[in-house]
């Protein structure tokens, strides 16, 4: 039938519906559009929608071509990451208050597979906590930064030694880009 292709597409890729509704003709979203798209998708569930700044860094995390925008493949990758992060957060947010104590977050980060000393974990988590607690939006921002910085480090650590040499300008560019 003349309609089967369109319906088959939607059934196979429901994310496309959310994305394309916002993405416009060039098939890319900027931070504001991503925020709209994620809010409409309801991925935050009962938690507050993501802030604009969090959406901005979500784009930077996957922006390998430095365009400042996110295409559909990147969006799918983001969606997978967001779903996992939300799942981990909900496991510890048992009263569904939308915030967790900051020391609980250090456990979540370890559970995600990061092997970091307690001091580093606390330094990371402190950056996002307000009065000892962390909101879902800030938690996601923390996960995004952690992943983006780790990806950057791994790309430079070609010998996989856990140590890199960084030139000043490179350090600035990559750290600031996140």
């Amino acid at each position: 039938s003349v309609y089967s292709g369109a319906y088959a597409g939607a059934a196979v890729d429901p994310l496309w519906a959310f994305f394309s509704a916002t993405a416009g003709q060039n098939g890319e979203v900027d931070a504001e559009e991503l925020q709209r798209c994620l809010t409409q998708s309801g991925i935050s569930g009962t938690y507050s929608p993501f802030s604009l700044e969090t959406c901005r860094i979500m784009i930077s995390m996957l922006d390998r071509q430095n365009t400042g925008k996110m295409g559909y493949n990147e969006f799918k990758e983001l969606w997978t990451a967001l779903s996992a992060w939300k799942h981990n957060f909900m496991l510890v947010d048992q009263d569904r208050s939308g915030t967790v104590e900051f020391h609980v977050l250090t456990q979540v980060i370890v559970a995600m597979g990061y092997r970091l000393s307690p001091q580093t974990l606390i330094a990371i988590v402190k950056r996002y906590s307000k009065n000892g607690r962390i909101s879902f939006d800030d938690y996601v921002a923390c996960c995004v930064k952690l992943r983006a910085l780790t990806d950057f480090f791994r790309r430079r650590d070609s010998m996989q030694q856990g140590i890199v040499n960084l030139l000043y300008d490179d350090f600035l560019q990559c750290t600031m880009a996140i």
Binding site: R127, L166, M176
Partner: protein, 189 residues
């Protein structure tokens, strides 16, 4: 010879900058800004008193950076004595901004930014300026307004300071482990 050198921007060092006006002038300003007469200027009060030239609220992140720089008592605000430092800091930045906004557009474009940072003593790649503008420009016009310019320079200075702490032989390279890198960066960006 260092591969890079820099002179800290306004407020970071004792060099030059605006002379302080007399205390009664500053006290009048303080009282006008301290709307609830609490004796402490909060983030909100400072934000309302500042203009970035775009008719949008002054960047709250910049406001937080400035207040935390001068708040010696961890009270999330500044008293009159601390405020004199804030006043000077902002006035110095206004002078810098005006100096480098050569076409008087009220925004600093990429070329003007290159000249400003080079004037501060930084030696940075062309590409870096694109990244700084992309990261800090909240107006979305590819140029940088006064409040975002300040925040960009503050972050640049902090990253440079922490890089230099690790660059013991001053050759422009550091060697860091994964944890060191995360600790360095998470406190700043």
């Amino acid at each position: 010879m260092a591969a890079y050198s820099y002179r800290p921007g306004p407020g970071a060092g004792p060099a030059g900058g605006a002379a302080l006006p007399d205390q009664s002038f500053l006290w009048n300003v303080f009282q006008r800004v301290d709307k609830d007469r609490s004796g402490v200027i909060s983030d909100n009060e400072l934000q309302q008193a500042l203009s970035n030239g775009t008719w949008t609220p002054f960047n709250p992140v910049t406001v937080r950076s400035i207040i935390s720089m001068f708040d010696r008592e961890n009270k999330a605000g500044v008293n009159f004595s601390e405020f004199t430092g804030v006043w000077k800091y902002i006035t110095d930045w206004q002078n810098v901004f005006r100096t480098y906004d050569r076409d008087n557009s009220g925004m600093i474009d990429k070329n003007e930014l290159k000249q400003a940072l080079s004037g501060f003593g930084y030696r940075l790649s062309d590409q870096f300026h694109d990244i700084l503008i992309r990261k800090f420009d909240r107006q979305g016009r590819g140029q940088i307004a006064f409040d975002d310019f300040i925040q960009g320079c503050i972050v640049l200075q902090r990253l440079t300071d922490i890089f230099r702490r690790y660059d013991t032989d001053q050759d422009g390279w550091i060697q860091v482990s994964y944890e060191q890198y995360l600790s360095m960066v998470f406190s700043i960006v």
